[in-house]
């Protein structure tokens, strides 16, 4: 294609985007609830002989109050410690011996237990998950083991990883009031002090059918699965749920800033701003802003810092998709000899520019296209589908959130972008972390000497 054809090509894309958005659809999602409050989401897909099963509990970092940080991860670990029917380690052994895999994780708002198996194994996985939901006993011995698991994960993933520590520092800085500010593995002293009563209270409040969604996707027959799920999960008792008070993050009077001297080989900078949770009407606009500023090699920050100023080796941006106050952030890994002060000015300059100058229609269309591609890329596998459905059901209340987001970004205008940027990109709303490598003793010098 010749350069002269680019403009016509862009107009053509504009038209096609409209056609695509209007026709955006996927397979039907079946939703029902059992009498005990368990929500069941099913999506049939017979293209491969596989199924994905995910049990999501609506509990995460946001449910942990000071002194009890890390308790959700302890509960998650306890659910791998065995039941009366299956001893510790059996769930993984059975699923792997059937050709599948299984795992779990806790995030800001939701705790996930998930498996993907050959479709013949679906019934086995449902039996195992029902047994885990009903039969996880809480004992002092299991608590000790689970606390040890969480401590070890914290040691390897947070304390021993400089990126883990930077991440922890960033969230501590970003959230003063909201529990999102602490890591999912909690603070070491909290983990040490959590006792069996704490555990029982948290576990019984949140790890129960009325606070769970079971998502199944793949090669299955919906009618038969609804019947089987009702048999296996229908008799599990739910307890009354206490209503949780939402916690908001108070305004600051200045930006929050941290300078970390750490050996990541090169200097780096992270600049973020507090934004509302994912259900807020500004979320689609913020998605577009993230793409214009931070996504891809043609994004404004990349163009400025990597191509023009040559201060960075890589830049990127993103949004924390959370139920309650979220973050929009941009970061740059700088070239080894670039001053951090200059890089900060360049990044700030691009963020200021989007508040002051109207973006072009071409930039807007590019950002919208990126949202569409991202939607499809993130819903390819059965695991993707169950993760998206389970998360969206809890943190937005809308299982079709992804599709609705794609449609919503289509209506974002250039004027709305300036208004939204001005609303959130304020110094009093900003969190900056600068990482500078130590002056001496960096690992690379040792490596070169060894060479």
């Amino acid at each position: 294609m010749k350069k002269t054809g680019l403009k016509a090509f862009s107009i053509f894309l504009l038209f096609l985007l409209f056609v695509l958005i209007v026709s955006l659809s996927g397979s039907e999602i079946f939703e029902t609830s059992l009498d005990n409050g368990l929500t069941l989401l099913i999506r049939e897909d017979h293209s491969v002989p596989l199924v994905a099963v995910r049990v999501c509990y609506h509990v995460g970092i946001k449910n942990e109050c000071p002194g009890l940080t890390g308790i959700t991860s302890i509960c998650e670990a306890i659910m791998w410690q065995g039941t009366r029917a299956y001893k510790k380690g059996e769930i993984a052994r059975i699923i792997q011996a059937g050709g599948g895999y299984t795992s779990s994780f806790t995030d800001w708002d939701v705790t996930h237990f998930y498996s993907r198996v050959p479709s013949d194994m679906l019934d086995t996985v449902l039996m195992l998950e029902a047994d885990r939901m009903a039969g996880t006993g809480l004992t002092s011995e299991k608590l000790l083991l689970s606390k040890d698991i969480v401590r070890k994960k914290r040691l390897s993933e947070v304390e021993s990883s400089i990126y883990g520590r930077i991440n922890e520092e960033y969230f501590n800085l970003a959230y003063r009031a909201h529990p999102y500010g602490h890591n999912k593995y909690g603070w070491p002293d909290d983990i040490n002090r959590i006792n069996l009563n704490d555990l029982k209270k948290h576990f019984h409040a949140y790890f129960q059918p009325s606070n769970a969604v079971l998502v199944i996707a793949g090669d299955l027959e919906t009618e038969a699965i609804v019947k089987r799920v009702t048999e296996l999960f229908g008799n599990i008792n739910s307890r009354p749920m206490e209503e949780r008070r939402p916690i908001s993050e108070p305004e600051s009077i200045g930006d929050r800033r941290s300078v970390i001297v750490a050996d990541i080989g090169v200097p780096a900078i992270i600049m973020g701003y507090r934004i509302p949770g994912i259900s807020h009407p500004d979320y689609p606009v913020l998605n577009i802003i993230t793409n214009i500023l931070g996504t891809g090699t043609s994004s404004r920050i990349y163009q400025r810092m990597v191509n023009d100023e040559k201060s960075a080796m890589y830049t990127d941006g993103g949004i924390i998709m959370s139920e309650e106050p979220g973050l929009i952030y941009f970061y740059a890994l700088l070239n080894y000899d670039s001053p951090v002060e200059d890089a900060e000015k360049q990044m700030s300059g691009e963020i200021k520019r989007i508040k002051d100058e109207m973006i072009t229609e071409a930039e807007l269309e590019k950002a919208k296209n990126q949202v569409v591609v991202n939607y499809y890329r993130n819903s390819r596998t059965l695991d993707d589908i169950t993760r998206n459905l389970g998360t969206a059901r809890f943190i937005t209340g809308d299982v079709n959130f992804g599709k609705h987001l794609v449609n919503a970004v289509h209506h974002v205008s250039t004027e709305k972008i300036i208004q939204t940027a001005q609303k959130y990109f304020k110094n009093s709303n900003r969190i900056v972390v600068v990482i500078s490598p130590p002056e001496a003793g960096d690992a690379y010098i040792l490596e070169e000497e060894h060479e």
Partner: protein, 462 residues
């Protein structure tokens, strides 16, 4: 065009309680066509209309294994230079045009191959291929772009060196493959990167980025006939190139257990890697090695290493094993993390597990569970068009046929616990393995003394 299918036939005799038995009888996991252009470009095509997307991978069958120590990083740097403008899309116009579609383009260089991977909406199929064709046939290399990329790559090398796990892997490779080719990290080292000049990049391009060294894997929401026409139109005139650079594979097996300690006095915990070269993916022994690796540490939390070192002895926080497969000798590798106080004992315990597996026959139930995992898991490798293309490109990079996996499953049936023990005896001989650890020497050295030949890098004891 030849229509081909990957078909799996397997019956899993399950010993697990309440799970029954499963069978795959003629299950089609991938349906593709392949053809070649007269210039040597091979094409694999999958038609899949589940999503309005297309994916492609262009594989060049030479990678960083061709790099010399003097110009380390040349192959990765040269590949990235393709993204810095073409005759039809000068400068940043190429990036802008690609991003404007929402599409994504990535560049990866591994030891045995280099990849350009793209994901686009299917409506942009023609444009995506035009951009790819332009990039590989008509790139424009400038001094200014090279200088910028060199500085970026130097920074990437420095950042990578600050990551403990990457440094340990690099040291393991260097100890077994020397300081050229296979022994180098794909991203290169600073000294080598600094020496690269524009003529080196142009020369690399002439020898390696040409159709008879390339394979195009493409799939998604496209009609095969239309795709073939477009591919012919865009790539048929791509001229064949000079002879490809040769991979440098120079294996040096230690004759004793080598222990390399990176002294990191402030490290909160200790990372470790243990390994040695194994066999090429084409080897007859690959099947037994895959099963053995799963039992050793590849099976995650049910593996022998996890159960012994993490659960029973509580000496490590995490541990796993894997095989870094390659067209030449891959690397059998155990990696993990432990507290500084228990790391030396963790390594001794790993050696004890290895010694045990060299002596015993694993129980039949454990052996059958392992085979069943692969029978069932195999289908998942072809779950999406993207994963199918990745698998096909990987197999091609490794120099094995597209029916590698079904053939592998047949070979599993010829394995037994005795063969696994033979594999353990051959490939897990502590006397020619390398242990690399990163942590505080004062806590590590006393526990590791006597286990093997210790070399310390950095800190006060160098």
């Amino acid at each position: 065009m030849n229509k081909k299918r990957i078909i799996i036939n397997a019956i899993m005799i399950c010993i697990i309680s309440g799970a029954g038995a499963y069978s795959y009888d003629g299950e089609i996991v991938s349906d593709y066509t392949d053809f070649s252009l007269s210039n040597g470009l091979e094409v694999y095509l999958i038609e899949d209309h589940r999503q309005p997307m297309i994916d492609f991978i262009m594989l060049f069958r030479t990678g960083s294994a061709t790099d010399s120590s003097r110009l380390s990083g040349l192959s990765a740097l040269s590949l990235t230079m393709l993204m810095n403008g073409t005759e039809n899309f000068p400068g940043t116009a190429l990036n802008n045009a690609i991003d404007s579609t929402g599409g994504i383009l990535d560049f990866t260089t591994l030891r045995d191959g280099s990849f350009i991977e793209g994901t686009f909406l299917s409506r942009d199929f023609s444009f995506a291929l035009e951009a790819l064709a332009d990039m590989v046939q008509r790139p424009v290399f400038t001094e200014e772009n090279l200088e910028r990329e060199k500085r970026r790559f130097e920074s990437i090398a420095m950042q990578r060196n600050s990551i403990s796990s990457a440094r340990l892997r690099d040291a393991l490779y260097m100890n077994n493959f020397g300081r050229e080719g296979y022994g180098l990290p794909a991203e290169g080292r600073r000294a080598g990167l600094r020496r690269v000049e524009l003529d080196d990049v142009k020369e690399y391009f002439t020898h390696n980025i040409h159709p008879d060294n390339a394979v195009l894997f493409i799939g998604g929401d496209i009609k095969a006939d239309k795709a073939k026409k477009t591919i012919k139109k865009l790539f048929a005139d791509w001229a064949p190139g000079k002879d490809v650079y040769r991979s440098i594979v120079d294996i040096t097996l230690p004759d004793t257990l080598e222990i390399i300690i990176y002294d990191n006095p402030d490290a909160p915990s200790t990372d470790f890697v243990i390994g040695r070269p194994a066999v090429p993916a084409v080897s007859d022994r690959a099947a037994a090695l895959i099963l053995f690796d799963y039992i050793l540490g590849g099976g995650g939390e049910i593996s022998r290493l996890w159960q012994s070192v993490v659960v029973e002895q509580a000496l490590a926080t995490v541990i796993q094993s894997r095989i870094d497969w390659s067209r030449h000798e891959g690397v059998m590798m155990i990696s993990g993390n432990a507290s500084n106080e228990t790391a030396a004992d963790a390594i001794r315990e790993i050696m004890a597990v290895i010694e045990e597996l060299r002596e015993i026959r694993v129980p039949v139930s454990e052996f059958e569970d392992t085979k069943n995992f692969f029978y069932g898991n195999f289908v998942g490798q072809y779950e999406t068009t993207h994963s199918s293309l990745s698998m096909m490109a990987t197999l091609n990079r490794l120099g094995v046929k597209q029916d590698f996996y079904p053939e592998l499953l047949k070979r599993f049936d010829q394995c037994d616990p005795d063969k696994l023990r033979d594999i353990a005896r051959e490939f897990l001989n502590p006397n020619n393995m390398t242990v690399v650890v990163s942590g505080p020497i004062r806590k590590l050295k006393p526990g590791l003394t006597g286990l093997g030949n210790i070399t310390v890098i950095g800190g006060g004891e160098n």
